[in-house]
Symmetry: C2
Subunit: 282 residues, 2 copies
């Protein structure tokens, strides 16, 4: 437990035996009483990565189904090695607390920088003002422990819902504004200076307020499933991130995310399916 950084210390796993690992879920990545899903997923990825010999253990694609809320405290991780191919290995992790499975993670791993091949990129990093012209976490966002682990700088254009005063919000309603976009753009980095890496990307993909808060009153939005595609090792510095929800209906919503590093490289895409409790529009 001598890791210098919060995330490494608090996502570490110890091998108990073949395919069995112990970890300790910290309360310091909580959203309310519940540890963040991306953080729990990162713990699973540590166990998955430790189960295969380097160098074929970069995560490529990982899907977590959140069965019940995790809790701060001990967790046991069981890894099943499903298939070991030459270029891709597939495995899954079961995270168990107090005898009950809380999260199942299915993932493929391999070497991210092995193949170069053709390059076609039809996208740009999210358009944002520079970090120094962006906003620290607005007071109108939920006050959660998780947020204290990060520096966050928000694109002002995307967080009016969290910066407007009650009066201003009422005025906006009178003016019958066009429906807002459910989108949040922000720069993110660890507050303790830890550089981003592949393992931390699920956490960065799940650490901003749900963009649906722009159109629905904030509240608990339980994730059913979160998938992250890992596309490149992030360069040190800010991660420029964008999360957007386009479809809220039938009790569910999707949330699509992109994480770009300071070199202008896409490093991850994320998508989750979450449940929307019956809740008022803002």
């Amino acid at each position: 437990m001598s890791d210098p950084f919060d995330f490494d210390r608090e996502s570490a796993v110890t091998e108990l035996g073949p395919g069995r690992f112990a970890g300790l879920i910290s309360a310091r990545w909580n959203v309310g009483q519940v540890p963040n899903g991306g953080y729990v997923m990162a713990i699973a990825l540590r166990a998955l990565g430790a189960s295969f010999a380097a160098p074929a253990r970069d995560p490529l694609s990982a899907t977590a189904h959140f069965l019940r809320p995790a809790a701060p405290g001990p967790v046991e991780i069981t890894v099943e090695r499903i298939k070991e191919g030459k270029t891709v290995v597939t495995a899954e992790a079961r995270l168990v607390q107090s005898g009950r499975e809380v999260t199942r993670v299915l993932a493929s791993l391999g070497r991210l920088d092995a193949a170069e091949g053709p390059r076609f990129i039809d996208a740009q990093p999210p358009p944002m003002p520079p970090p120094e012209q962006s906003l620290p976490r607005p007071a109108g966002m939920p006050d959660i422990e998780l947020a204290r682990r990060f520096e966050q700088r928000f694109d002002p254009a995307t967080v009016g819902w969290a910066t407007a005063t009650a009066t201003a919000a009422a005025a906006r309603q009178d003016a019958a504004p066009a429906p807002a976009r459910a989108e949040i753009r922000a720069y993110q980095r660890f507050v303790d200076g830890r550089p981003p890496d592949l393992l931390s990307l699920p956490l960065f993909a799940d650490s901003l307020p749900p963009p649906v808060f722009a159109v629905l009153t904030p509240g608990w939005v339980p994730t059913v499933e979160l998938t992250v595609h890992f596309r490149a090792r992030p360069a040190p510095g800010w991660l420029r991130s964008q999360f957007r929800t386009r479809f809220v209906f039938g009790g569910f919503l999707e949330e699509d995310g992109e994480l770009w590093d300071e070199s202008g490289q896409l490093v991850a895409q994320s998508r989750q399916l979450a449940m929307v409790p019956n809740r008022a529009f803002r």
Copy 2:
């Protein structure tokens, strides 16, 4: 085996015992020698759905990792019921052929129409000419058995790569055109008149030529992982679909899809991570 429609007959499973099912993978959904991944996923979903009492067995989110190519012939499906919640159940299916697992599917199921709640939709069906002004499958697309199971009508704006003659293609190269978009838009329905349903959505999400063929010479694009979000029961008729790839680099690409029904309702979103062999640009 008295189902009137191809898809139902050829994705049927028989329960062998608790959590054990037998199926028969048909060669009639092949891409070359390999059964289509969405078709294989649908067989898994049948076994998953049959493992839970109605009504909580609509698929909500399903992720398949393709471990090795499936082959036409018998398949045994083992289902593990991971968690049975009040509103969501989570389970996984292992598809085994000749003693070797070919595909692992992790899924959450529930009731798609149980919750109404808030509705916010910030999207439109893909812009396309009506089916009668769209193109039948162009001769320049790969001639595969799978395509004979569908009627397909392509938006001409998205399949120039498959309709242009060799001369026209050469002329385009001389003119140094702007990089194409890797996008395909098409209407799809079963050729035998079977209406679309939830179970068939993974197949529709994986049955058009990869949009990357617009920018790279066509060839085998092995899917590592395919996730489908099931959002609504499709109305009978055409499925209006759009698939796009924005990031080809480092040997991998993503493919994002949307399926909309004739009533103008989004019914599914899909995303896959696939490998790009080293291959020439068109």
